[in-house]
């Protein structure tokens, strides 16, 4: 069963998605990375990546295709990585331009966050971006992320230096924004 949002569904990546994902990666506006990547990714590369995901119960990451619930159209890709069990993970998202400003990205992130906080019991979720990506910073702030770290002039993007940013949201901050959800995890800190 996929992760269900209000307007999007996050489901497993399928072979039929690969060309869409390649187009997303090779589009300089939607690459979704803080370094420039050459727009030369091929079907072979993506097929290899898709095939080489091993089955294991010890998962450090998750990767989902974002689908429009109403039309079934592919919207983007979202995932988490660098999982420290019950502690932290880093999220990333890339959305096709047609769906920019539609609310799909925010719904996808909120859907994934619910899985990370309520499903995986994480204490903090992070995302990496840079000071030149105002769209990403603005969207993340609307969801409740705050800039935790600003490494000065550490990113070079399209001819300019930007600050590397890490934005984060703690478990308490997430549940404060979602009073409809119950936090069933006790505090991990010991009050002496």
């Amino acid at each position: 069963m996929a992760l269900e949002g209000k307007i999007v569904r996050l489901r497993e990546e399928r072979e039929a998605d690969l060309q869409f994902l390649i187009d997303l990666r090779n589009d300089m506006d939607t690459q979704g990375w803080s370094q420039r990547l050459p727009p030369d990714y091929t079907l072979d590369m993506y097929e290899k990546r898709h095939r080489e995901r091993d089955f294991t119960m010890e998962r450090k990451d998750g990767r989902f295709t974002i689908v429009d619930k109403e039309s079934g159209e592919l919207i983007g890709t979202i995932g988490y990585a660098e999982l420290e069990p019950r502690l932290s993970a880093t999220v990333g998202i890339a959305i096709t331009k047609k769906y920019w400003g539609s609310g799909a990205a925010m719904d996808a992130i909120e859907t994934l966050l619910q899985f990370l906080y309520q499903g995986l019991g994480l204490q903090v979720v992070r995302l990496w971006t840079h000071s030149g990506n105002e769209r990403a910073v603005g969207s993340a702030e609307k969801i409740g992320f705050k800039v935790a770290l600003r490494q000065r002039e550490g990113i070079f993007y399209d001819g300019r230096l930007y600050d590397n940013l890490v934005m984060d949201m703690t478990r308490e901050e997430y549940f404060e924004r979602h009073p409809d959800l119950e936090d069933g995890l006790p505090s991990m800190e010991i009050d002496r």
Binding site: S88, Q151, G154, N164, M188, E189
Partner: protein, 193 residues
């Protein structure tokens, strides 16, 4: 004294590659209780809690790999005993590199760490296209934070809830030093000399 694996030389320290025979020395300083939680070992190894000789062996093997990083043994000038390690990494992007330093608590406050770190900073800025070098220090490590500031690093944020220690969450304070700031410091040190 064998100098063939010396990377960098200062007035007080030499930085060289770790050797197999350094295993006992590394185990000795890394096991010091004051370094618990701040050993700066490879990711797969424990930063706190009991260490084993097997862990140290894995550690030295990792440090012998030079793939976009350099981890050097610190030895006092004129002696070949290992008193700590200093590392630099530029794996993700050399523009944004990072460094770390560990000195045996029994050898601290003698200037070894300062010089070792400055040698590593010099190596990175003089040989790599780096613009920002960052230092990551746990927020409970007051001595480490003060040391970072004394070396010219500026705090640029905290990675919250990096882990739990003694019943409380701690964060990793990140401090950075830009290329132009390092150049200015070097010039001032040279002009003042």
């Amino acid at each position: 004294m064998d100098n063939s694996d010396v990377f960098l030389t200062g007035d007080k320290v030499r930085l060289r590659a770790f050797r197999e025979e350094d295993q006992d020395a590394a185990y000795s300083y890394l096991s010091q209780p004051e370094l618990d939680g701040r050993r700066y070992l490879p990711w797969k190894l424990p930063n706190s809690g009991p260490l084993t000789q097997a862990s140290i062996k894995v550690c030295l093997e990792d440090w012998s790999e030079r793939d976009k990083k350099m981890v050097a043994a610190i030895t006092p000038a004129g002696e070949d005993r290992v008193i700590g390690h200093v590392g630099g990494s530029w794996k993700w992007d050399p523009l944004l590199s990072s460094v770390w330093l560990v000195v045996d608590p029994r050898e601290q406050r003698k200037g070894f760490g300062s010089e070792a770190l400055q040698l590593m900073l010099g190596y990175i800025y003089e040989n790599l296209p780096a613009n920002n070098i960052s230092l990551w220090v746990s927020d409970w490590n007051e001595a480490g934070l003060a040391f970072g500031r004394s070396q010219g690093f500026k705090e640029c944020g905290v990675m919250r809830r990096a882990g739990l220690r003694d019943g409380a969450f701690y964060g990793e304070v990140v401090m950075d030093l830009l290329r132009r700031e390092w150049i200015k410091m070097e010039k001032e040190a040279h002009d003042g000399a």
